[in-house]
Symmetry: C2
Subunit: 152 residues, 2 copies
């Protein structure tokens, strides 16, 4: 599944704004509407476009508190993390979770209602998990940039 320059232009546009009408998109990339739509359909089918979603303003839906948390596991290896991973996947306040190399094991980003929710979440995720050795919290005071996905 090779992407040519037209595919790239389509993806860049849809990543910025997926609401655009097919006719306008076709104009922008220099294709007929039907040809353009066929490309988009194929990009979806191939999984390059995983899905399209509405981007919601966190502050306007009552999640004004953004935090980054890093943590270290006591025991390493995937089997000891399974339960933690399940919990992370279920909690809607957790937006991202990456297992990483370096002096921490895991990095999370969260969007929360308030400090009460923060306390409840850290208690559930970290304090009550014997495999979480320690965690550090970084509270966001300014969102300089927050794009929904990869750019390329």
């Amino acid at each position: 599944m090779e992407l040519d320059q037209i595919d790239i232009r389509i993806l860049r546009q849809l990543q910025a704004d997926a609401d655009i009408a097919t006719n306008r998109l076709a104009d922008m990339v220099g294709l007929s509407p039907s040809a353009c739509l066929r490309r988009v359909t194929k990009l979806r089918r191939d999984g390059v476009i995983a899905r399209t979603v509405a981007i919601i303003d966190p502050a306007l839906v009552g999640r004004p508190l953004t935090a980054v948390i890093t943590l270290e596991f006591a025991l390493h290896g995937p089997s000891h993390r399974q339960e933690f991973i399940e919990k992370v996947r279920k909690l809607s306040a957790v937006r991202q979770c990456f297992m990483v190399t370096g002096e921490v094991s895991c990095v999370l980003t969260l969007h929360m209602r308030d400090m009460d929710e923060y306390l409840a979440l850290t208690d559930e995720l970290f304090n009550s998990d014997p495999n979480v050795e320690w965690f550090r919290t970084y509270i966001s005071v300014q969102t300089v940039k927050d794009d929904p996905g990869v750019a390329f």
Copy 2:
């Protein structure tokens, strides 16, 4: 701009999948298509739905390397960060950038092509910026969760 339970249901659905037909969305939230569409239009106009975007698979567009970077500034205060912020905003490999409280000043997430791009980026962003005292890199080895925005 108060959100009632129907608004919440609409937002949850569109955040998970904005491709859904208006009729189906209307069914799901218990509204007629026209009433439902009017709600969606209003949510857009009020900025609750900021925009809708296509989610692209990083690996399939040649950005398989995900990293989290934390850093400390030498001089604090917004004026010393302006240049850094401009650069961050321009670089498409930088997905997120938060200014934070705690033992680091700033947290970034990046999606990159390869280690060469990583080296070039860190050189441009950190090594050549006298106000960046130090930075630490965490390379992602597993993406446990990566949602495009807030959940609620």
